[in-house]
Symmetry: C2
Subunit: 320 residues, 2 copies
């Protein structure tokens, strides 16, 4: 058993949380991670479809009686969807990518812990100022959207800023060695995304599953190409790390040109809709080399927890 300020605050068994990945972390995956003793976070994301959120909340409710939570993108998610989630009694709400302040009143009226994810020092200061209960320090190593800080150098700085507030490390972590590294850096656990894509519970279907199992870290890169093509409205300060495609290679250093080429954007979206594998977006991070097998998510949490203890004991054994 590994006990940290995070496990104590959230009432979970292991210092492992599921990244609330939009399009991947649905209710079944969130429930499975919670059942495994971690903190499952439903990926509400931009909350464009409240009916989808309702269905996935039902799956969480049916799937687990352990602590769970949900993650929101502050640049996009309406407060009313947060309120819809809070009615289901989550143990935590994670706010990321934007100003958390508009959501604070609703969270504070509930019993949910406030988790704020940060990608740079300015965001970390804001997280402390708004009184976050947990701060997630996410490095550019992460899959999906993020900033430019490297995980290994960012986490200790956030831990110093956070003081008594527990910190989770995120980005580039897919096994217990990474979680143990997070603890060494001063964090209280880790938030994992890419690793949980290779579970039967992840949404995304067989194309994503195959791509994740076969792809490697060096097949990923980080840019705004997909956001521009999707016309998603994502603020350009957060870029996205995904498996490279011919399309992303074509436009990566020419993002302004793509912004002024509506035909190229429409062509990409049409190809994506047809299911063209070259236009399938698979968000994945720097830890992808470590993801080589499909494992039920609840089991995975236990495996990672065991690996974490083993890594901690191995380091301790080096001290004489």
């Amino acid at each position: 058993m590994l006990t940290t300020r995070f496990t104590a605050r959230l009432g979970v068994e292991h210092p492992v949380a599921l990244a609330p990945m939009g399009g991947a972390a649905g209710g079944a995956l969130a429930a499975a991670v919670s059942n495994g003793g971690g903190l499952g976070l439903l990926g509400v994301g931009s909350a464009k479809d409240p009916a989808w959120v309702e269905r996935e909340l039902d799956l969480v409710a049916q799937g687990t009686d352990r602590p769970w939570g949900a993650g929101f993108q502050c640049w996009a998610a309406p407060v009313r969807v947060l309120e819809q989630v809070l009615e289901r009694g989550p143990a935590a709400i994670m706010l990321a990518f934007g100003d958390p302040r508009p959501y604070l009143d609703a969270v504070r009226r509930s019993d949910a812990a406030l988790i704020v994810m940060v990608t740079d020092l300015a965001e970390a200061h804001t997280a402390v100022e708004v009184g976050a209960d947990v701060i997630v320090a996410q490095g550019t190593d992460a899959g999906g959207h993020g900033g430019s800080r490297g995980t290994i150098g960012f986490v200790p700085v956030v831990a110093d800023l956070a003081g008594d507030v527990p910190v989770l490390a995120a980005g580039g972590i897919a096994d217990g060695r990474g979680v143990a590294a997070a603890l060494a850096l001063g964090a209280d656990g880790a938030l994992l995304g890419t690793r949980f894509l290779a579970t039967p519970e992840a949404l995304g279907g067989p194309v994503q599953e195959k791509a994740v199992l076969e792809g490697g870290s060096e097949d990923t890169d980080r840019s705004s190409v997909v956001d521009i093509a999707h016309e998603s409205g994502w603020p350009a300060r957060w870029t996205g790390r995904a498996l490279r495609t011919p399309f992303s290679d074509r436009w990566r250093l020419h993002e302004d040109a793509l912004r002024s080429d509506p035909a190229a954007r429409a062509e990409f979206r049409a190809a994506e809709e047809r299911g063209d594998p070259d236009a399938t977006v698979v968000w994945a991070g720097e830890s992808l080399d470590l993801v080589t097998d499909l494992v039920p998510a609840a089991d995975l949490v236990g495996v990672i927890a065991g690996e974490t203890e083993a890594a901690v004991r191995r380091s301790a054994g080096a001290v004489r």
Copy 2:
């Protein structure tokens, strides 16, 4: 005391090595790190000036009787300079940035351990194939030249590939929490550069010292701009992380344009020669936020070793 396969193989007290930074890691710094119980590595770099190398080797010889080494850039350094260094009896030779094979015979005729630094999987495979005694897995988080892999996800993969060969983690590490994270990830220690810039022994002078103490991680970025301006011949597959300047901001996303603009390049070099602070190149990494004080290098090794043990014990204390 922290004992790893690295400390055992090299006969050093602490699992900490000095990055052989060209222009910063001279003989005085290498000797001081070795005296502190780490492995000091002289930054021979591209070895353009054998007379400079000779003088710095004298400083190492006068400065320490502990194990020390030297680092070479394989894309540039002549074998005869390696042979010049080997005559002084180094405990280790580190080869980085290019094909190590042309240097192997000379190293193997000596008693020096062969350290190979790698920045991606292909280089890691080569390091194993050539029989490296130690492999340094360097992430893009590092200052100076490097690749695009993030440290926290790259180190465990290299550790798996390396098997019985000890690994050092490099990139984004500046204190004992980072060294402890390296151990957790499966490495046997860490190689630190940026942290050792803030020592009285580092070459570089007051402008660099001030920039390092005042700058932060978010003031750095990684590109080929400086190499293009310097017409240094650095292969573009390795970019450089340095403190941003108006010049690097101007050209970062326009490297091809700088390649075809000799006047802009000449203007930069002239400004640099004049000592214009806006044209002073300060290579520094993602750990820069953690570098806030000037500490004698030998003392620093001891401080980092103590922090490492404290971080390991803190993690071990979380296991029940």
